[in-house]
Amino acid sequence: MPQAFHNYFRRKETQLHELNYLFWECTQRCNLNCRHCGSDCTVSSALKDMPFDDFLKAISPLEKRYSRNSVFIVITGGEPLVRSDLADCGRELRRHGFPWSIVTNGYAYDSAMHRKLMSAGMCSITVSLDGLRETHDAFRKRVGSFDHAMNAIDLIANEKHLPTYDIVTCVSPMNLGQLDEMKQMLVEHKVKAWRFFTIAPIGRAATDDGLRLDGTQLKQLMDFIVATRKEGKIDAKFSCEAYLGNYDRKVRDWHYFCRAGINIGSVLADGSISACPNIDRRFAQGNIYTDDFLDVWDNKFEVFRNRDWMKCGICANCREFRNCLGGAMHLHTADCGEIMECHWGKLKG
């Protein structure tokens, strides 16, 4: 599809802004302490887990507005598996017509947990894998993390009743050279879908410069994805985190489109209403404990739906702005319009 048509389609989607994808940050606790975590979560968060009833009450108006199964709930954290009531929450979401999924590091995902979540109607799952054994464990700062993640991946890849899933890898200079070997391993483990991120300078990774790819390394990653897609053994793609110019349609199924606040919303651990959980929390548009979720979704989110404010700094005179609209929302902070990192600029050199 030509870029011009895509830009028209994106404009229409923005005007309509139907909610299709809703994050629930069910906890800020995590059983790992990863070097590159974008959320800054902790093993024992001072913030208590949100009671499920509070979340359900906040989203119950969605049942009247949208048809069953049209709003997809993504349960995230922290690490969602640290919540002992996770399967009960999922089962109740299904009963109310919300398909649901989790994003997990896989550490606590064993066969008992797999059966429990599948029988509660889990519809999708994403597991993180950040390298071969030593590299992954170093990233995750816990020996054994790799083996736990691979065990989770085996359970998922062999589950015929799971509609979809993927494995995500945060690519850094530490694991870039391992991608070929990782690919071979994942194919051997029957994995069908593999998605790549780069590490954004946010959360714990904000002060760790050694995690970010330079232009040459980013191009190396793009070329690896292009070659893997051509090979066809595994569905490899780059995440929707950035506009990539000529690489855009070669490393994804679709043009770049940051849908944060357009089709994607979130309820964060403290009740804040926002979009993707890795977005600067100062962009929150309301709170479920003081505001009506649908009222906020319908009438606020202007900063997400009109991104002209991003046309500053390096974007001010950039000819690609009409295509990227300032890039992904999580690469901006509330006190500065300028993007933290431009992938297209890096690739261009």
């Binding site: 389609f9 229409k12 989607e13 005007q15 309509l16 139907e18 299709n20 994808y21 994050f23 974008g38 069953r68 199964n69 997809f72 993504v74 995230t76 299904r94 017509g97 398909p99 999924s101 989790i102 994003v103 599948m118 029988s119 509660a120 109607g121 889990m122 519809c123 999708s124 799952i125 994403t126 009743h161 799971l162 509609p163 979809t164 899933y165 993927d166 879908a193 998605r195 991120f197 995440s239 929707c240 985190e241 199924d253 679709w254 940051c258 849908r259 944060a260 089709n263 994607i264 979009a275 993707c276 959980p277 890795n278 992904a328 999580h330």
Partner: protein, 121 residues
């Protein structure tokens, strides 16, 4: 107007990639269809309604199940792939939790009101 077009395109397998969300931070979105089946379960020999029979769908993604009530009636709602949904028939399993009747694994059509007969062991 655009909303209608969007609805039609979303329902079309060919173009649904346009609308399948995958936030950079989230999971792939599992597209699926919801199916509700209902009917009555009876004893084949006596035609008496059977309660406490579990009903599950083998093609379903999720582990949904239901039990027949005292009138032998059941309603089962489950999620299923587009491929199975469009085919229009599903495999259901009827199992007696008290082990008095033989388990029945059968293929049924989506539009039919079911009357299931179980044979005693």
């Amino acid at each position: 107007m655009y909303k209608w077009v969007r609805g039609i395109l979303t329902a079309s397998a060919f173009t649904s990639v346009m609308f399948i969300m995958q936030a950079c931070y989230g999971t792939p979105e599992g597209r699926m269809n919801e199916v509700t089946m209902s009917g009555t379960i009876i004893d084949k020999a006596t035609s008496q309604p059977l309660s406490g029979i579990s009903v599950t769908c083998g093609s379903s993604y999720s582990g949904d199940y239901s039990f027949s009530d005292e009138n032998g009636q059941f309603t089962l709602t489950f999620l299923i792939s587009r491929e199975y949904y469009e085919r229009g028939y599903f495999d259901l399993e009827f199992a007696d939790t008290l082990d008095r009747y033989q388990t029945l694994d059968t293929v049924v059509e989506s539009s039919s009101k079911l009357e299931i007969s179980l044979v005693a062991k």
